[in-house]
Homo-oligomer: 337 residues x 2
C-alpha cells in the first residue's frame, strides 16, 4: 500500500515523529503507556491526584490570522491557551491531544513550522503530545485537549471567593491585545523582541505561580485571564455568588510609549478589556495577605480590589467615582477581531 | 451585566443545563468533582486503572451535512464516534468535553435538538459531559474528547497481532455507508426505521463486546472500523508488523434488496470500503478460538481471515484467486463525500 504524500496516515506519521513518541514508548513524566498511532492514548496518572481536563478552540480567522501569525506561534499558542486552564486550577499539565484540520496545500512547510512551535511549547510545559485527529479543510482548524493533575482537594476553582477577600492579578494586563494591534499594523517583518508582540504570539501560562498558590493554600479562588478582566472577573464573581470593587489606579497596565497613545490605545482600557493575556486572576483572604510577595520569580503580583457581597462589578476611578464595569472583553458571539 | 441571548456565557449555560450538572455536582459513576463552568473539569478515576484519552473531529461538510443530518443525530454521532475509540481499547467511557462552533443563527432550535441527541448518547454510554469550549463560526464545527479507563494492563491495542491469529469483525460491514447513500438520495422525510440509515445516523459503539474481549483476554489486538475495513485493517497490521489474508466470501456485508443492487451498490464493495460502521475488528489467537461465541448479545461475530507474516493485505475471492487489497476507505485527504 502506497500512501499519497498528503494522506491522513502520512500526516499522522509527521506529527508522531515530531512528538518523539511511538507506540508503547514510556515517557516518565506523564507515564504515557501508548502514544500516537492507536485508537486512543493510554497513560497512568499519579495516585492521590485529581485529573484536570480542558480543551480549547484555536481557529483561523477567529483566534489567529494565517497571513499575520507565524505558524510556529500558532503551534505554540494553541497549546499554551489550553495549558493556561490547567495553571488556573493550580495543576500540573501531563499530556495533550491535537485535533488539526488543514488544507492539503499547508501539509509541507506550514505544518513543519507549526509542529516545531507545538513541540517547543510541549517541552516547555512538560506536556507530552499523546494523540489527536487530523482531517482536511479549506481553513486551519485546531482544537487542543490537555490533561493535567493536582493533589486531591487542592485545585483552585472560581467558586471560592468570599466578601472581603482581596483581588490579585499577575503581570501587566492589556499587553497581548496591544501586541495584536502592533502585529496587525506591521507591514514589515514582525519584531518578536517587542515584549507585547511576544506576549501575544508566545504567551506563557503561569504554571509555577498557580501551583504555588494551590500548594500553599494562599488563594480562595482563581481563574486565568483569557477574554479580558472585564469579561472574566464577572465569571469568577458569578461562580462565587459575590461582586467586586476594583481600583482603576491599581490595575497594572501595558506600558505604551507616549507617542503611540491615542484614544484607541489607552493602557487602562486595554488592561480592562484586552484578551489573551493568560495572566492569573486570584483571590486572597485578608488573613493571607502577609503571605503574598510583591512578585513571584520577577512576575509582579498586584492587589487590584476587593470582593463585595453585592453581585455587581464596580470600578473606582482616581477621584473615587464609582461606575459599573460592563464586560467588553473577547466574546466570539459579539464580535470577530 | 446583561448578556446577549447568543453570547458565549448564555450558550454555555444552555449546555450546562442540558448536562444536568453544576459546579461541584458529584456524579458517582464518573466521580466528576467539577463540571461545566470553571476553567477545566476535575474528576477522579478509579485506582488500578489506566486512563484512555481520545478526540474526534465532526465537521459540517466533511463528516455531516447540515441539510441532510438531523441535529439530534449530529449530537449523538459526534459522541458515539469518540466513545467507539474507548470501546476499541476495551475500556469504559467516563466523561467527555464538547468543543462546539456554531453560527449565531443556530443557537436556538438547532442547538436544542443537537444537545438532546448528545444527552441521549451521554446517558446511553454513561459518559458525563464535563466541559468544553464554544465559539461562533459560519459553519458547524465539533470536536469531542472522551476520557475512559481500563484495568491496568488489559487495554487492547493495535499492535498485538501475530501470524496465525484469526481476524474477526462484529456486525455487518457497509451498513452505515449504504445508510448514508439512502440519506443523500432521500428527498422526502428520512425513515430512521430503515436499519442502515439508523446505523449511519445513530451508531452504537460496541462497548460491551470490547470490554468482554479485554476482560477475558480473548483477543490479542483490536481497533474500531471507522474508515472502512480496507483502510483500517492495514493500520492494525502495520502497528503489529504483520499482514493479513481475508476470505471475501466470509465478510459479513450489508443486506441490500435485489432491486437496489447496482454497480455502485455492491454489498461486498461496501463491506470492504464503507466507513462509519463503528464495528470492532479484533484478532484472536487460534488457541482461544473455542472461547469465541457466534454472536454476542445478538451481535454477530464473524471470522473473516488470518494474520500472515508477510506485510501485505491479500483478499481471496470465491475461486481462491488472490489479489492485493488497497485502502479505499474514508481518507479526508483523498476525498470529501
Amino acid at each position: 500500500m502506497k500512501l499519497d504524500s498528503s494522506s491522513e496516515d502520512s500526516i499522522l506519521a509527521k506529527i508522531a515523529h515530531g512528538a518523539g513518541l511511538s507506540s508503547r514508548t514510556r515517557a516518565p513524566r506523564a507515564r504515557l503507556l501508548l502514544g500516537i498511532g492507536d485508537d486512543a492514548a493510554l497513560f497512568e496518572l499519579h495516585p492521590g491526584c485529581e485529573t484536570i481536563l480542558t480543551c480549547d478552540w484555536f481557529l483561523e480567522g477567529t483566534h489567529f490570522l494565517r497571513e499575520k501569525h507565524p505558524p510556529d506561534s500558532v503551534g505554540w499558542k494553541c497549546l499554551a491557551r489550553a495549558v493556561s486552564d490547567v495553571a488556573a486550577m493550580g495543576g500540573v499539565p501531563r499530556c495533550c491531544l491535537l485535533s488539526l484540520a488543514v488544507p492539503a496545500s499547508l501539509t509541507g512547510r506550514w505544518l513543519d513550522s507549526f509542529l516545531a512551535g507545538l513541540r517547543r511549547a510541549s517541552r516547555k510545559f512538560n506536556c507530552v503530545l499523546a494523540g489527536g485527529d487530523t482531517t482536511r479543510r479549506d481553513q486551519i482548524l485546531i482544537n487542543v485537549t490537555v490533561v493535567g493533575e493536582v493533589r486531591k482537594g487542592r485545585a483552585l476553582t472560581r467558586s471560592g471567593a468570599h466578601p472581603g477577600d482581596l483581588i490579585y492579578v499577575s503581570g501587566r494586563l492589556g499587553e497581548a491585545e496591544w501586541g495584536l494591534r502592533l502585529l496587525k499594523q506591521s507591514k514589515a517583518r514582525r519584531n518578536p523582541k517587542l515584549s507585547p508582540m511576544r506576549k501575544h504570539l508566545y504567551p506563557e501560562p503561569r504554571l509555577a505561580l498557580g501551583q504555588w498558590l494551590a500548594a500553599r493554600r494562599v488563594a480562595s479562588a482563581m481563574m486565568d485571564l483569557s477574554d479580558g478582566l472585564s469579561s472574566d472577573l464577572p465569571r469568577l464573581c458569578a461562580a462565587s455568588g459575590v461582586g467586586a470593587r476594583l481600583l482603576a489606579s491599581q490595575i497594572p497596565a501595558v506600558q505604551i510609549p507616549a507617542r503611540s497613545r491615542t484614544g484607541k490605545a489607552d493602557p487602562a482600557q486595554l488592561a480592562l478589556h484586552g484578551g489573551d493575556d493568560y495572566e492569573l486572576l486570584f483571590i486572597v483572604p485578608p488573613r493571607h495577605k502577609n503571605l503574598m510577595p510583591r512578585s513571584f520569580h520577577s512576575l509582579p503580583l498586584t492587589e487590584i480590589g476587593v470582593i463585595t457581597p453585592k453581585r455587581q462589578i464596580v470600578l473606582l476611578d482616581e477621584n473615587s467615582h464609582a461606575r459599573s464595569l460592563s464586560p467588553r472583553g473577547w466574546d466570539p458571539f459579539r464580535r470577530y477581531y
